[in-house]
Subunit: 198 residues, 2 copies
Amino acid sequence: MPPTSETLTAERILATTEEVLRRHGPAKATVVDVARALGVSHGSVYRHFRTKAELRGAVTKRWLDRTTQVLAGIAADGERDPEARVREWFAALFAAKRHKAGGDPELFATYQVLVGDQGEVVGQHIAELTGQLTDIVRAGVDAGVFTAQDPATAARALFQATGRFHDPGYAQEWQQPGVEGEFEAVMDLLVRGLRARD
Amino acid sequence: MPPTSETLTAERILATTEEVLRRHGPAKATVVDVARALGVSHGSVYRHFRTKAELRGAVTKRWLDRTTQVLAGIAADGERDPEARVREWFAALFAAKRHKAGGDPELFATYQVLVGDQGEVVGQHIAELTGQLTDIVRAGVDAGVFTAQDPATAARALFQATGRFHDPGYAQEWQQPGVEGEFEAVMDLLVRGLRARD
């Protein structure tokens, strides 16, 4: 058993849970496996996460949050003009998803199973992302470069219209030649749709 | 056995194949089942469709073509202005897909299995649909109401940006409250992106 001298934090449990999921697969991985890998009793794990479902929800959120944090920086960067921010935000989202899907396909597949079971966690994740987008759209409206009656509605439309480039159901398409050009064409159309006019 | 006096046409075989698929499911349905339902020998079926794969491809194409034909009429209607035609074309596509998915969920699920195996047939279907859209976009450019450097690229971007409202992978979303409003918001953004400006 590995040494247990390190303090058992929620983050340590989640990092180990990810490794256990990778090794055993989402169907077989148990809390006992996680505790064994940490060299602690399963009771110690349950003190941080009351149920297996809660642990799986937390590890899924951690996986999704890795993308959210990168994007938050772009959304909050008031120095850059809103149109560049929208483009960069979506390019970063697409890049992060492609990297996750292509760089470690097994872990990606594992998390797709978890994501399918975690409707609430996924819903919160999407709400957070469209919230970031709403901030950018609102900044563009305030600056007079975007037209949108309701920034939140426009942000949701932008997010849904770009699903091909971030919805994991399309992961296979992300490896196809020409997908970059397709992404640019969709972004061009959407950004033109956002621009203000008289 | 039903009477065989009627001429054995490709269309009769395909209509019966659809019924057999509905009854037995896509995994179990065989050419012998189709021949039996028609009251003919399986050799008679093979004279129209050389292989089981060819028969399955043809029945899938027939299913997909039902949508294409309705849309072709909208795309070709030069009387209506291009913006109204784009909106109506996508509304008809969404309505047709929702009708197929919601009206006969079992048959829809059956065809989703076939569609998954028929990459070439599906590719041709999508090429046909984006071809129709290209005609509408080009008419708009010619009339000076749309701006698009390349109508075919814009048409593909429109089609991909609306995937949520016609890609069968989203069929469950089509029953959610608010989906109509989401569709309208995406269409508003896209149509504004198409419009010409100085």
